[in-house]
Amino acid sequence: MTHAPRAALEIDRVGKVFNVAGRRVEALRDISFSVRTGEFVAIVGASGCGKSTLLRLILGLDTEYEGEVRLDGRLIERPGLDRGVVFQDHRLLPWLTAEGNVAAALRRSGLPKAEQRRLVAQHLELVGLAKFAGAWPAQLSGGMSQPVAIARALVNRPRFLLLDEPLGALDALTRLRLQDELARIVRHEGTTALLVTHDVDEAVFLADRIIVLQPDPGRIARIVEVDLDGQRDRSAPAFLRLRDEILDTLGVRHPPPAIATATATAA
């Protein structure tokens, strides 16, 4: 990158209220932060803190909210190919092969067929699943489906990769492996990434900056810079210190307190 990093995505005093069975439920209150081009930002928080809601606003799936979400200075009005998304459920279409699923994302790209085919092959290669191009989603394990979904999200070369708890449904071992993969892939593509997760280790491992949300209503508790000198060793003291710090902010003490005192801590 030759130009100075600038805010590509701005979340400006965003609030969101849902109407649940006639009751007002405030999901987000006064959220403000920005993401610079090329940055990897993670949003962590307990379930119900509105982090997925925030991602839907950035995606443009929901435009009814307070405040402004701007992309390169322009208000987001609808979904666009400049934002690729990976959902928690891989959401591959079961009636399309791995290849077909990735190709589906290129329908609106306007690229010639040959170029589309090349991009699909290239991105399946990138996530290490070139051999499974012709496989149906039902034949793929969770650890293989999610990389296909990542390839689908990246195939348009979006400016933003939005990740909505992408590894949340996977077993622990697969999750660790895919965290490494994700780090490699995002570095390779140079995309700006926004990861929503409740896994603090995952956030510390992947992100340059971590936005910590607290629930009821969802608001920013802190913003933490991850400054580990590019060293992402999951058992390094600096890594663990940062993780514990964030867990503290989230109200989870480390090491965990005895079960008897857990209720007192939660209150």
Binding site: L61, F87, P94, W95, R107, R108, W136, A138
Partner: protein
Amino acid sequence: MSALGSSPARPLLMGVLVPVLAIGIWQTIASAHLVAPYVLPPPVAVLARFRSELDGGTFWSDVLASLTRALAGFAIGAPAGIAFGLLLGLSRLAGRLVGPIFLAYRQVALFAWVPLLSMWFGGGEAGKVAFIAMAAFAPATVNSWRAAGAVPAPYRELSRALTLGRLDHLRLIALPSALPGILTGLRTALIYAWLATVGAELFLDIAPGLGGRLNEGRDKFEVDLMIVALTVLATLGLGFSQLAAAAERRSIRWRKR
């Protein structure tokens, strides 16, 4: 598919048990002369009648006539029903405009249409096929309508995130997601068409066909002929539904096998 219903030997044996038992009781009743043979002929007599029908008579052409009628009605009614159902499910406007009328139509028993249809199309072949087509139309419509209207929200969201156009949404998301429902509709339509075929043959003009043989059995007081016709109807119906279910399984190749 899973082990359910596909493990061969035992369920088959159990399924055959009751019919065999029933035939045994039937034979006992007949042998003991508890009922006059012209009211309930013994199984052996029915079997003999079946053989003589196969050898001599018009039986094969009757079966063929009924099958042809059923398939003709199905071929008209089912595709029309699928098209109509998809329209209702995919277009909110069409669903609101036409949906209530269709639901009202469903409240009228199928046989209530016989007088009107026979006035419009006559009691001959055209009237019969029209009746069968109508019978196939309804389940094809209902199932396609429901399936097309129930594209899962996550897929609709994905479609928006990928900014798919209307045609791509139909081709890549809405239609494939409705396919299992459409196929269920086709299978049900096939069964309904077969049921309606006998109805048409019984209530409209006499013509070659299994329904006609049933009428003949009643007029000539030949219970053996009626039992033969009923058994063949049931067997062919069962065959239809098995065939349709197999075709349904095979055509969705992306399902986990």
